[in-house]
């Protein structure tokens, strides 16, 4: 029987042991400092003289349970508003971004329009757009303009967010290296084909994080439609607060907003990681 040969040298075994020890030490330090920081933070907050009062008015379990069904029903409106708006924002923003980069001279009037549009709606506070659309549009009494508050909210948010998203997409398109254009065109593909098959897929992948950023922001800004009279989560929470003299309902609304944004952020992280691995790792 042959003696089993060690596959690594003794020195390498020492190195491995050292690295293992160092990893353990680092994990211990991490755990300890986390505990310490959160402990101190928790103590600072709870030892404040007003804490019992704050806890009772903002974080009361019974009020939370009481208000949740009411706020959840209203929050359903935020979700619908956000989803429908996003469905309009994506194609509109893509159209604006493409119009702004296409070099065709026949597009000039549209390019001017698109540039003016992004300048105006990116520069105007979203709240102002919501108020203008919500109260101004119906006042025009034009045929075909919706008077339904939900659709007015969708229009206002779409106008505002398409401007942001268009700029993000345009930056993505411009960030793709010109040699990609050249090799697409060299294969005989037209400008439009190269844009669609070669440039846009790369552009969108690159700007996915800022794109998601804008959509998370949009989710929160659905609360702005409360100003034109829609009872969404924030308004519902304020109504509950006004009746109960307790602010817990507002905290409940905040938690609901957080709960829907976190999964989106994680899913995007996962998507970008997967795309990166696939391209690089093969």
């Amino acid at each position: 029987m042959i003696n089993e040969q060690p596959t690594v040298s003794a020195r390498q075994l020492e190195r491995l042991a050292f690295r293992r020890k160092r990893t353990l030490r680092r994990a211990a330090v991490g755990a300890l400092s986390t505990l310490l920081v959160f402990g101190v933070l928790g103590w600072l907050v709870t030892s404040a003289p007003g804490w019992p009062r704050v806890q009772a008015t903002f974080f009361s379990a019974s009020h939370a349970k009481d208000s949740l069904p009411f706020i959840w029903d209203a929050f359903w409106l935020n979700i619908r508003l956000f989803t429908v708006t996003e469905l309009f924002v994506l194609p509109l923003a893509l159209l604006i971004a493409v119009v702004r980069v296409v070099p065709s001279p026949s597009m000039l009037p549209f390019k001017i329009l698109a540039a003016a549009y992004t300048d105006i709606f990116r520069g105007t506070p979203t709240l102002l757009v919501v108020l203008l659309v919500g109260f101004g549009l119906p006042a025009l009494r034009l045929a075909g303009i919706p008077t339904n508050l939900f659709w007015l909210g969708v229009i206002a948010l779409t106008l505002s967010y398409s401007a942001y998203v268009a700029e993000v997409l345009r930056a993505g398109i411009l960030s793709v290296h010109p040699t990609q254009w050249a090799s697409g065109r060299a294969l005989g593909m037209s400008y439009g084909q190269t844009l669609r098959k070669v440039i846009l897929p790369q552009a969108v992948r690159r700007v996915l994080p800022p794109l998601i950023n804008d959509f998370v922001s949009l989710q929160k800004d659905t609360a702005l439609v409360s100003t034109i009279g829609l009872v969404e989560a924030l308004r519902a929470a304020s109504v509950y607060q006004a009746e109960s003299f307790n602010f817990t309902s507002l905290a409940v609304a905040a938690v609901l907003f957080i709960v829907i944004t976190v999964p989106i952020a994680r899913v995007t992280d996962w998507l970008s990681l997967r795309a990166m691995r696939r391209q690089v790792g093969g």
């Binding site: 040699t179 050249a182 005989g188 593909m189 098959k197 391209q279 690089v280 093969g282």
Partner: protein, 240 residues
């Protein structure tokens, strides 16, 4: 097949092409040699209409490439071009890189495009990489894919712009082997290159460019053993 008369091109006040006359016959392999900045790449880009010429005429078969009314896409569809930096599409698998132009420029059916792509990948020994993405391939592998992509649409003319300049010396051979194979199957190729040994062995004709002009043109034998111009001799002496 390709006829160029008095082609001129300047970038600002820098003259890059200063009256180029060049004829390339079908099935001919022409190697452009010359120092960096002599106009080799610009000439290739002008032929592929990726750059516009300032003056002169260019004909591909019966088509005038310098006709301003010509749709450049239809001309480019007849010409294949490969770049120094491969320029594969990083978001597409190797297989899709080879299929995309066949599908959307030439309207080839999906199954046929796929079959042709796989045949070409087999020829460059990369079938097992069909579903990999370009960034996971070595430089030599990427350049072989780029060559395969350029011939996937069966172009009349193939333009190779220093296709081995970005490669590790060890990987140059595998790319040049495929170029030699393309020559063997009778393709018309214009190739800008610094690979003098390859040019000498494979070209039908060598064209030496300096300062945007053709200084000398002739068979490899003549150019390498008995250059007529002083500048050619000096250039070649520096490149061995």
């Amino acid at each position: 097949m390709l006829r160029i008369r008095n082609a001129k091109k300047s970038f600002g006040d820098q003259v890059v092409l200063d009256g180029i006359d060049l004829d390339v016959a079908a099935g001919e392999v022409v190697c452009l040699i010359g120092a960096s900045g002599s106009g080799k790449s610009t000439l290739l880009k002008c032929i592929d209409l990726l750059e516009s010429t300032d003056d002169g005429d260019m004909w591909l078969g019966d088509t005038e490439l310098t006709d301003p009314a010509l749709n450049p896409d239809t001309a480019r569809a007849r010409i294949g071009m490969v770049f120094q930096s491969y320029n594969l599409f990083p978001h597409m698998s190797v297989l899709r890189n080879l299929m995309v132009a066949q599908r959307c420029v030439h309207g080839v059916k999906k199954a046929d495009a796929r079959a042709r792509a796989l045949t070409l990948l087999e020829r460059v020994n990369l079938v097992e990489k069909a579903h990999s993405y370009p960034d996971s391939l070595s430089g030599g592998q990427q350049q072989r894919v780029a060559l395969a992509r350029a011939v996937a649409t069966d172009p009349e003319l193939l333009l190779l712009d220093e296709v081995t300049s970005a490669l590790d010396p060890l990987l140059v051979g595998e790319v040049l082997d495929f170029v030699a194979e393309l020559k063997a199957e009778g393709r018309t190729i214009i190739m800008a290159t610094h690979e003098m040994d390859f040019a000498r062995a494979s070209a039908d004709r060598i064209v030496f460019l300096a300062d945007g002009q053709i200084v000398e043109s002739g068979t490899p034998e003549q150019i390498f053993t008995a250059p007529r111009q002083q500048r050619t001799a000096e250039f070649l002496a520096r490149h061995r």
